[in-house]
């Protein structure tokens, strides 16, 4: 054991010093007490007595007051720390919960708004379709009317053309110096126009 050998060498060293003090210069010491006070056996009883008193006092102080108190403080601190950590965990869980709820609310709101937008779009589209159909009908009616008017006009024009042709034919016949009755001319023009 390293400690033991170290202790031995210490002991040897101290013994040599003691030897040197007390034996090497015995004549140079002024008084008898000038040696090592540590080796003055008359003071041993005194030192040992007061040492035991001091140790007993320290033991009493430590075991009755100080050590239980410090042990209690340390235990209390450990308890406080673990409680605080538990509370922090709980708060963290609550915060996570709250965040989840918020995300859910956000998602719901998004879905709701999307639904409303889709509905509005559908409604608008239906209205728009109805309006377009109505406009188409109106346009178709207007177009039919116009066509009818055009047909009338065309019919009118045909009649006018016939009248002009008959007149012109009559005038031509007259100019050529021939005479023909109106009815023959009309029949001839009609057959030409139709043909």
């Amino acid at each position: 054991m390293a400690n033991e050998t170290h202790g031995l060498s210490d002991a040897d060293g101290a013994a040599v010093v003691l030897h040197g003090e007390t034996v090497a210069h015995p004549t140079e010491l002024q008084t008898a007490e000038a040696g090592m006070p540590q080796l003055d056996f008359t003071t041993y009883a005194n030192q040992i007595f007061w040492l035991i008193v001091a140790l007993a006092a320290i033991y009493w102080i430590l075991s009755k007051i100080a050590l239980p108190r410090i042990a209690m403080i340390l235990a209390e601190r450990r308890g406080t720390i673990s409680n605080d950590i538990a509370a922090a965990e709980e708060l963290k869980a609550q915060a996570l919960e709250a965040e989840k709820a918020y995300q859910k609310a956000l998602a719901d709101a998004k879905a709701e708004s999307a639904r409303i937008v889709a509905e509005a779009k559908a409604e608008i589209k239906a209205e728009l379709d109805a309006a377009i159909a109505k406009a188409d009908d109106e346009i178709a009616a207007k177009a039919a009317e116009s066509e009818k008017a055009i047909a009338e006009i065309r019919a009118g024009a045909m009649e006018s053309v016939e009248a002009v042709a008959k007149d012109t034919a009559a005038a031509l016949v007259a100019a050529l110096g021939m005479s023909a009755d109106q009815a023959a001319i009309d029949a001839a023009v009609d057959t030409r126009v139709k043909g």
Partner: protein
């Protein structure tokens, strides 16, 4: 130490060992066992300091400690952990006794470093009582807990059979040297450091050397502050090691 004084000669007077004298505080009478001496005074101051740190320091019972309470808790934790680590879980019930030893030694050592102070732990009478108390209680405890199995501490079963008697002899000798080394280590360290400082202080009387002397004293003082703590630590941890031997004999 003392040799330096004589070789220097001249007007220099060295009394490096005077600081260790045990003298009555009141009157010059003989030192009886009950006489109130400087030993009494400085041990009382030690007890007062221990009480101040461990009781007054922790009186706030604060969850967040102040300075004094931090030191008290640090000392508690330091020794508690030492006992637990070295002597094991079952050594913890002897923690208060080891705490008493540690606090007494550490405060005695540091109080002894105050100028004009008396160092109680520099006396072999004091350290021998401490070491013998540890030795005897540890030995008795070993026999109480393990009976004759405690002697297995000296019978090294790991060694080859022919070697065992020789090893046993060595183990027994080393076991009985424990209290000697345990006590002289502490007292010797304390005494030597203080005596050396005193010798350097004696040299300060010569004007030419005094600056060097002051530097030397400062350096020694720094070293002694270190030694004061280390010796208390060493004494305590060795106590734990001996306690471990008593609790778990056999290598």
């Amino acid at each position: 130490m003392a040799d330096a004084a004589h070789s220097e000669g001249g007007g220099l007077v060295f009394h490096p060992m005077d600081q260790f004298k045990v003298v009555p505080l009141f009157g010059d009478g003989e030192v009886h066992w009950y006489t109130i001496t400087n030993v009494t005074l400085w041990m009382a101051i030690t007890v007062a300091c221990v009480a101040a740190l461990m009781v007054l320091g922790a009186r706030g019972r604060a969850v967040i400690p102040g300075r004094a309470q931090s030191i008290a808790e640090l000392a508690y934790g330091f020794v508690y952990k030492m006992v637990e680590d070295v002597a094991g879980k079952d050594g913890v019930k002897y923690f208060p006794y080891i705490m008493v030893l540690f606090l007494f030694i550490v405060f005695s050592n540091f109080l002894g470093l105050l100028p004009l102070a008396f160092t109680t732990t520099s006396h072999i009478a004091v350290t021998a009582v401490l070491a013998l108390a540890v030795f005897i209680s540890v030995t008795v405890l070993g026999f109480i807990l393990h009976g004759t199995h405690f002697l297995g501490l000296f019978w090294v079963t790991a060694a080859p059979l022919p070697l065992r008697p020789i090893l046993a002899l060595i183990e027994v000798i080393s076991y009985f040297v424990r209290p000697v080394s345990h006590s002289i280590r502490l007292a010797g360290n304390m005494m030597a450091g203080h005596a050396v400082i005193k010798v350097f202080a004696g040299f300060a009387a010569i004007a030419a050397i005094s600056p060097l002397s002051v530097v030397a004293i400062t350096a020694m003082y720094g070293l002694e502050v270190l030694v004061a703590f280390i010796q208390a630590y060493v004494f305590t941890i060795l106590t734990c090691v001996y306690l471990k031997d008593a609790l778990h004999p056999g290598h």
